[in-house]
Symmetry: C2
Subunit: 253 residues, 2 copies
DNA sequence: TAATGTGAAGTTTTTCACAGCG
DNA sequence: CGCTGTGAAAAACTTCACATTA
């Protein structure tokens, strides 16, 4: 889902598959919950259930990080929390700026999940002069004019764009020019960035559209199921044989 | 990224790959923009660029929908908009409810991208009695007590959960019991749902963590690059041969 | 003995490359 | 000729199943 063509193409690095990286935060969340309940160890089966994946996948994922488990026992919760945090780079502090303090930007500024994971909202930036100085989530909003200075003064390398679509590319360009190399984009636009800059996007409307697709298909299947049931009933009448576990098998030509 | 174990396992339906479905909204957005600029046709190359994918992938994706292009010319914008909309089920009206009208819920209620895509915010629901009756985005907030009735009266099949993590599963259960079969979850929890219910999740903190992983790796690579450059320089001094296109090849043991 | 770690098999997704068609 | 549509190859990802080991 990340856009920017990224990282060295083939050279071996520690090569953790992207799909695995995307699941590490999930495992981390589940592990953190266990840690808070002072659970000392957990099996792949249990942890997988808590994270909503299957256990083979989880074990394979962990195998890319190293051998952190104990056969016959499971994984040490605290140790795993540390290892995954380190792998994700969460043992360091990441100052982020949020640009565009509308409804969504404000929601993000107030979102607790950031602070708890090593992310610190270093600044809020908006183009509306009327917003300047107003505190949101306890942080005063600053004006876009100072964007470059803010980035540099705070050593920000991660930027969050929550502006309207029309402003997103321009904001993105300025962020990148000022030194930001990772961008989380909430604006419904494709951002173009130079090589070496990562973009991830979150598009609320896209998620709903994907749900709608499946929803529609469910409706279609229901209708189909009725037809199949009717066909099966008819067949049963015909042959005197009731329906059983087998699929009705409507073979297409 | 969808969680719920979904749909018939193997039976052939119209079998559009999930990865393709996830990109259709992207294409649709790009096409809509072209349509607004009254562009009549577009090539796979152009459209792919606008959507941020490569053209082979786009053509393959479209091939699952049918043959909607014209060789030597490209795709008719309006026609494709219609076909994709239909495929995604956006030609019908989808009433959605948003549960949890905090910062994020309010942002979602105000988000313009919904209405423009066939999604209609049918109701806003919150557990705080003080919120009841207050209008958000012009829609009065209703109390959780009436959730079931609201779902049924409005024929809602898609629910958005924007509550705190602690309340999410309970809200989810009630939504499902009331007949909702697709859920977009913003709460940082794994929801468990019965078969036949789709869940997609959006986790802001997870996206940032993935960015942090790559950001960290960039920092590592920079250091590595410096070392490699130094090594190359040293080698050049040694042999009198300048560095060329080949990889420095630091073979591990 | 219970549960990890992992080759190997299976599946899905992406990319290639070009035949075919307007 | 230019661009689509698509088999076939390649790559990425998931699942299986079991040898291995604390």
């Amino acid at each position: 889902m990340a856009t920017g063509r990224t990282h060295r193409p083939a050279t071996r690095s520690r090569g953790i598959p992207e799909a695995t990286v995307a699941r590490l935060p999930l495992y981390l969340r589940a592990l953190t919950a266990l840690s808070e309940r002072s659970v000392p160890t957990v099996s792949s089966e249990e942890l997988a259930a808590a994270a909503g994946v299957n256990s083979a996948k989880l074990r394979k994922d962990f195998s890319y990080l190293g051998s952190y488990g104990t056969r016959g026992v499971g994984y040490d919760v605290e140790y795993l929390v540390y290892q995954i945090s380190r792998e994700l780079g969460l043992t360091q502090d990441w100052p982020v700026v949020i640009v565009g303090i509308g409804n969504l930007g404000a929601a993000l500024a107030n979102y607790g999940g950031f602070a708890s994971r090593g992310f610190r909202v270093a600044a809020l930036i908006d183009a509306d002069p009327a917003m300047a100085g107003k505190p949101v989530a306890g942080i005063p909003v600053q004006h876009t004019d100072d964007l470059e200075k803010i980035i540099k003064d705070n050593g920000v390398s991660i930027g969050v764009i929550a502006t309207p679509a029309g402003a997103a590319q321009q904001v993105c360009d300025r962020l990148v020019a000022a030194g930001v190399t990772s961008i989380l984009n909430f604006a419904p636009t494709v951002l173009s960035v130079p090589d070496g800059v990562d973009v991830r996007k979150v598009d609320l409307s896209i998620e709903l559209q994907i749900l709608a697709f499946h929803e529609q298909r469910k409706a279609g299947e229901e209708a189909e199921a009725v037809l199949e049931a009717e066909a099966a009933a008819a067949a049963a009448k015909e042959t005197g044989k009731g329906p059983d576990g087998d699929v009705p098998a409507v073979m297409p030509a």
